[in-house]
């Protein structure tokens, strides 16, 4: 057995938005074990919610994640609506669907861009983020903000979208399809990306079940689970769309799922705009009775799960939040073992554990030689060099 070394990734690292600490145990270049430590930035939102009224909680939970800031409030209000048996007006359901799909669209494009960067495909990064920008503009038009939309409330939505804005949304989505096709083709038909991503970081369907993985991470392994179809909420059962899956369970499969889901999202939004019913955008909600409710929503990264318990007062007794990456990140135990170090960066990135603009990391230094082990720049460089090498070999 060769010498075993620890490679630290994190706690602060450009691969992820939240501070997470991966320790790769490597023998030579091969990863033999992974340890993950989280919660360097735990904000105690569950505790905080116990001191907020039911109406205030959506504004707190949309700050759980800057990207999923439509999914978290929606999961929470669905849990409360389940307790209070609220009938949400039809128009509000469609409006919720539009905002949630716009969120998925921008999140997936963000991931595609960053994945491109890690692999040394900066053109993909530029393209994807260019096409993401109109989506962000539309979100701003529809909700008044690029992040933290403050759109959901118990019983409906807070803000209507008028006919002119709907037309604008429809136009942006239809204009997006052409460039998206070009981008998808460029990525999926590239022989070097095939060589680089196929059979890398494989997650088997059995591991998906054991680790409770969800979202594109599960669908990339050919497991067709999607809350939007399985437990329909908002207007997802009223529009025509399909669940995208890919076989293989490798990084390539997850990329395929995310890229093709962008088309489904655009399709869903356009249908919602077309079929948008008239009427109220919220229902009047009286006091929340005692009881317990579950709300889950398909966020861009997978199922967001909220559990709320009420005792009849105006505050939740308990509010449990489980974000999708909480179940997806432990799958590295299954998918990273046996990989080479250059492949780890993209495998960690493939479940989309939220990215960051924080350019800091912990550098481990060998105590004897005083030589530093890998830092993040090295990892990206290794990853980009491998792509370059494959390109030359062809």
């Amino acid at each position: 057995m060769s010498h075993r070394t620890v490679v630290n990734i994190g706690p602060y690292h450009p691969l992820q938005e939240e501070a997470e600490f991966y320790q790769l145990y490597v023998e030579g270049e091969t990863v033999v074990d992974v340890d993950v430590r989280i919660s360097y930035n735990h904000r105690g939102i569950e505790k905080l919610d116990e001191s907020k009224t039911f109406d205030q909680v959506p504004f707190v939970v949309e700050r759980v994640c800057g990207i999923c800031s439509a999914s978290h409030p929606l999961a929470y209000v669905q849990a409360v609506e389940e307790i209070a048996h609220v009938r949400v007006p039809e128009r509000a359901l469609y409006l919720r669907t539009i905002v949630n799909e716009l969120e998925r669209l921008h999140s997936h494009l963000l991931w595609v861009g960053l994945a491109g960067h890690f692999l040394g495909y900066n053109t993909v990064f530029m393209w994807a983020w260019k096409y993401r920008e109109p989506v962000m503009d539309v979100l701003e038009t529809a909700t008044g903000s690029r992040v933290n939309y403050a759109n959901c409330k118990i019983g409906g939505v807070r803000r209507d979208i008028d006919a002119e804005q709907l037309k604008h949304i429809d136009q942006v989505c239809s204009e997006l399809v052409g460039p998206l096709e070009m981008l998808t083709k460029a990525v999926l038909d590239d022989p070097i990306l095939h060589a680089r991503l196929k059979k890398v970081g494989i997650l088997t369907p059995q591991a998906v079940k054991l680790y409770g993985a969800c979202g594109p991470t599960a669908r990339g392994s050919g497991v067709p689970i999607d809350v939007r179809r399985d437990d329909p909420y908002a207007a997802y059962d009223r529009v025509d769309w399909k669940v995208i899956t890919a076989d293989g369970g490798d990084v390539f499969g997850k990329a395929v799922v995310r890229l093709l889901e962008c088309f489904e999202s655009a399709k869903i939004i356009r249908q919602c705009v077309r079929d948008m019913p008239a009427g109220e955008i919220d229902a009047k909600v009286e006091a929340i009775p005692p009881g317990e409710g579950v709300g889950h929503v398909e966020a861009p990264r997978g199922e967001t799960f909220h559990y709320v318990r009420s005792d009849g007062s105006n505050r939740p007794v308990r509010h449990k939040i489980r974000a999708p990456s909480y179940n997806n990140v432990p799958t590295f135990k299954a998918s990273c073992i046996g990989l080479q170090i250059p492949d780890v960066a993209i495998t960690l990135a493939s479940v989309d554990p939220c990215y960051s603009c924080t350019e800091r990391m912990c550098v481990a230094v060998d105590a004897q030689s005083h030589k530093s082990l890998y830092n993040f720049a090295d990892l990206v460089r290794l990853s980009q060099e491998k792509t370059e090498r494959l390109r030359k070999e062809r």
Binding site: R37, I38, S39, H42, G44, E46, K47, L48, E82, K209, L210, Y211, G212, C214, P224, I225, V227, R229, D230, D231, P232, P290, G291, E292, V294, H296, E303, F305, Y307, R309, D311, V317, R318, K320, R322, Y326, N327, P330, K333, R360, M361, C362, V363, A364, V365, A367, H370, K371, S372
Partner: protein, 179 residues
Amino acid sequence: MTVAASKTQVPLSGLVGEILARLGDLVVEVHQCTHRRGIARIDPLRTIEAAERMLGMDGSRLATATGIEVRDGIDILYHWAFEPAGLVVTLKALAPRPGFEIASVANSVPAANWIEREMHDLLGVEFVGHPDMRRLILDDSWPKDLHPLRKDFDQILDRPPLPPNQTPPDVVGEGGGQK
């Protein structure tokens, strides 16, 4: 419906009812059984058996677990999602005072690993037989008997002082390793 005070049994119906029926005598009391949601209390001494049976069912997935402080202890709620049926079945088991001990299901269901560590940190539930009970949410320097999600924890008054700033001797901080 908050604690097991009422002994009224809800009739089992639909797919949720079938799932609860398959658990047999593990189910002590059924609180809720609608067409997509089920909540039932199970025998706290047989949680592992219940988890294994749930994991063995088609399309099941442990979504997460919740710990709630109640009068007699801490209720552990295992939320099982079923796809493509779109069900969520919640199984409750009580970790009684004063020790808050309950058997860990993480050996059978790896998805429970992190969430049990989280409940151990935040609520002080002792999961017996957990494979890796290190701190997950709280810092290693956090006092051992202080659990921030308990009802009697005050976010301002009970906050422990920050630990002294320490740099482990063999790790050089940012920029220090660039020689």
